[in-house]
Symmetry: none
Subunit: 198 residues, 4 copies
Amino acid sequence: MTDGRTRRRDDTKQRLYDAAMELIAEHGFSSTTVDDIAVAAGVAKGTVYYNFPSKNALFEALLRHGVGLLTTDFRAAVAGAGTPPEQAVALIRAELAYIQRHRSFAQLLLSEMWRTNREWHQTLHLLRDEAVGVIAEVLERGVAEGHFDADLDVRMASAALFGVCLVVAVDWLVFEPDRSLESVQDSLIAVIRARVGI
Amino acid sequence: MTDGRTRRRDDTKQRLYDAAMELIAEHGFSSTTVDDIAVAAGVAKGTVYYNFPSKNALFEALLRHGVGLLTTDFRAAVAGAGTPPEQAVALIRAELAYIQRHRSFAQLLLSEMWRTNREWHQTLHLLRDEAVGVIAEVLERGVAEGHFDADLDVRMASAALFGVCLVVAVDWLVFEPDRSLESVQDSLIAVIRARVGI
Amino acid sequence: MTDGRTRRRDDTKQRLYDAAMELIAEHGFSSTTVDDIAVAAGVAKGTVYYNFPSKNALFEALLRHGVGLLTTDFRAAVAGAGTPPEQAVALIRAELAYIQRHRSFAQLLLSEMWRTNREWHQTLHLLRDEAVGVIAEVLERGVAEGHFDADLDVRMASAALFGVCLVVAVDWLVFEPDRSLESVQDSLIAVIRARVGI
Amino acid sequence: MTDGRTRRRDDTKQRLYDAAMELIAEHGFSSTTVDDIAVAAGVAKGTVYYNFPSKNALFEALLRHGVGLLTTDFRAAVAGAGTPPEQAVALIRAELAYIQRHRSFAQLLLSEMWRTNREWHQTLHLLRDEAVGVIAEVLERGVAEGHFDADLDVRMASAALFGVCLVVAVDWLVFEPDRSLESVQDSLIAVIRARVGI
DNA sequence: CATGAATGAGCATTCATTCAT
DNA sequence: CATGAATGAATGCTCATTCAT
């Protein structure tokens, strides 16, 4: 039955996604072999190529998948909070939580986001704009409504906010994995709020 | 003459460093071949193996070299400024300037810094502590002297500061390469200073 | 209905023949994939294996089919002409016409006819004898009836005649495809007739 | 020493040529693996790729090599004979002799010469013109000097002569390998000369 | 009758490493 | 001190074949 076949195929694709995500995040794209992915997904190597035209294509699909989830989380965070400052806090929490759940993907972004001349660079660029764009919207609204400094460089601020969460979260998961999400979130917000006075 | 030979050898090593840095930063470690490095350095492939025991060893030496330079710049920045807040600003400037000069190395750090299970992970970890440690010292002194909030999470703050500079700088060089160092620095400091009010 | 099903099955087989002939002739046996054949025939890959036990078997059937048609044409040409010399001309015309209609098959023969150690070599050998045999018969009769030189090496002459038509026809179709069949036929007969005087 | 290294490399290349020629002629291009070639040449697989950029490139070099030799033989045959008819006979003998020595190459030509859409088609086309061109020159001179029919289609005649030798020679080597070159040559010339009377 | 997802052996190609010169 | 020819294990990808539906 079509239904059965389709379900079977979707299963396979999902298992390949999961396996590839884990492996590529841990070892990087080039060091992850298609063989590894197949073994981890519990299928034959040919099955990878039956479901994706190439290793690159699988990776691109992966990026799309991962950033899509993140953007969805971002949108939900914004929708669930009231004022821009509250939304910003919600975004930070959402990003940290996402990274906690998909640590591997965060390492992937860190590795690939600013690397040019890769086949999937274009794809990643667009996806990034999608995700960071949600942050930028909030900051813009915050500026418009007088919550944030009027001359805030929104582009840089959103990139910086996105990036600092990324870096802090990954650092946390690598070096202090036992610390709780709440603790990290509180510290990070404190750091951002801190009148560092510089 | 020994002197001449040594100098010649150092030359070769330096050229290999430069070539490898450029290539690995641009394409990643796995995607850079020893052949590429040899060609870019203008030597035969065997020469790479005459000067370094392996590709991994070359890369470790590279990391040591690069982080060493950064740490030196950090120390100079601290020495050239008075109070901790001034030192912090000097550190930001130093990091941005370093990345501008060695953009490739920054991308390298971003890719490798938080990736475990690589042969050189240990090395990189130690080096990172060396560099980030300089930032931490300044923040600690700032807290001790009452410049910064007393309950500042210094560990996280220094990691965050290091990371945010890294991310902002790379983002700058990739997406707005024509912007000046000063402009970026000013914006970044403004963003950090901003009573974001969250 | 049995009739309907049979016809449908024959349709599928014919479409597979046509598709395979075209593709194998153009790209060779090894470079033609079963996938290509299925797509070109507009059926699923499994259908190829439902109708033929293997790719090799499909190819053998193809050879049988193609040479069978050629032999039939040869027989018709002989039957439609009077004396051996006239029959020889008719054979030349038949071969050229056949190749014009099935150019792909001619290229196939050229590639495979003299290649030993292929699974289907035996098959092809027998088929060849069938077709070239018709030419040989005509030449033999021509010798017996005094039309041709008494000491003609009939075996070689028939092979040579068969081959020269093959080569000339393929050359024509590849390099001067706009030339007419008649023109080629006339030139070829003139060349054969020519007292080259060597 | 450069000399030693160079000689060693040339040796390797020659051995690869020989091995590849034999194998590709016998089994065809697609069915011959680089592994086979390496084993037959007595080197490691990587060595093939150290000496040629790809399997295709090796094959193109092979074609150049083989047709080059044939053309040289053709030129020598023409130079060693007096009148165009004598030169034509010498060419036939040269072609038969060449094919006897390089039977594999002849099968190769038969398979590839009229196959379009292959990467090396262009190369082969040019090479063919070079070799067949020598025959055409002789025929042209023969016509000009009144040895051959004035309205001879030289283009076709040279292609036909080249092709008929090819076909006859291969047929000979496959089906009557014990027959002598002289015998075949005599029969072939007799066939060509025969007032077939068609 | 026909389908198409899945398989795994096989292939062209790459590349870190060795070593004779 | 430097070279570059040679190596062979590893890798991305192909494709004939199988089989559950």
